[in-house]
Symmetry: C2
Subunit: 112 residues, 2 copies
C-alpha cells in the first residue's frame, strides 16, 4: 500500500515536507500565468518536440521582450530548456519536471 519514499508521494497521501513544498512551489508558480501555460503547451505540442521563439511570438498579443521574459521564467523553473542554433533559439520541455508535478497532484500514487 505504502510505496513512496517520500520524494514523490502524492500530496493527498501524506503531508508534504517543508523542503519538498519549497522545491515544488516555484514550479507551480511558473505555471500560474496563462501566457506561460500556453507557451509551455505550444512548445510541448510542437512538431519535432521543440519550437523556435519565432514560432511562439505570433500566438500572442505581446512584445518580444515579454515573451522572452516568460520563457526565462519557465526555463529557470526547470520546465523547459533551450539552445541557440544559428540564427534561431529553440525551446523544448523537460518531461520529468512535468511528470513530477502531475504525480504530486494525482489522487493516488502512480505506479512508476
Amino acid at each position: 500500500m505504502v510505496e513512496a519514499p517520500g520524494c514523490c508521494a502524492p500530496l493527498v497521501s501524506e503531508p508534504l515536507r517543508d523542503g519538498e513544498a519549497a522545491e515544488l512551489a516555484p514550479l507551480f508558480k511558473a505555471l500560474g500565468d496563462p501566457v506561460r501555460l500556453r507557451l509551455l503547451s505550444l512548445i510541448a505540442s510542437h512538431a519535432g518536440g521543440e519550437a523556435c521563439v519565432c514560432d511562439l511570438t505570433g500566438a500572442f498579443d505581446l512584445t518580444a521582450p515579454t515573451i522572452s521574459h516568460h520563457l526565462k521564467v519557465l526555463r529557470q523553473a526547470g520546465l523547459i530548456d533551450s539552445e541557440r542554433r544559428g540564427t534561431w533559439v529553440y525551446y523544448w520541455i523537460n518531461p520529468p519536471a512535468l511528470e513530477r508535478l502531475s504525480a504530486v497532484l494525482a489522487p493516488r500514487a502512480v505506479p512508476v
Copy 2:
C-alpha cells in the same frame, strides 16, 4: 488516438486554448506558494478527509491571519472548500480540481 474533447487533453498533446489557459492559470498560481502547498497537503492527508483550522496553524511559524489568507486563496481557486460547524471551521479538498490539473500535466492522456 485522439480522444480528448479539448477540455482535458494534456498540455503536451495539443496547444492549450486561450480560454482554458486563463481558467487553469489561477489554480496553478494558488499552488505556487510553499505554505499553500503544505496547507493543501495537510488538509488532503488529514484523517477523515477534512481538517480544522486549529489543526493547521500549529504547523507553521505564521500568524493566524496569514494562514487564513492562504486558505482563502485556495478556496477562491476552488481547490478546497470549507464549512463552519459550531466553534470550528473545517476545510476539505476538492478532488476534481486537483485531478484536472494532474491530467493537464500528464505526459499522455489518462483514460477516464
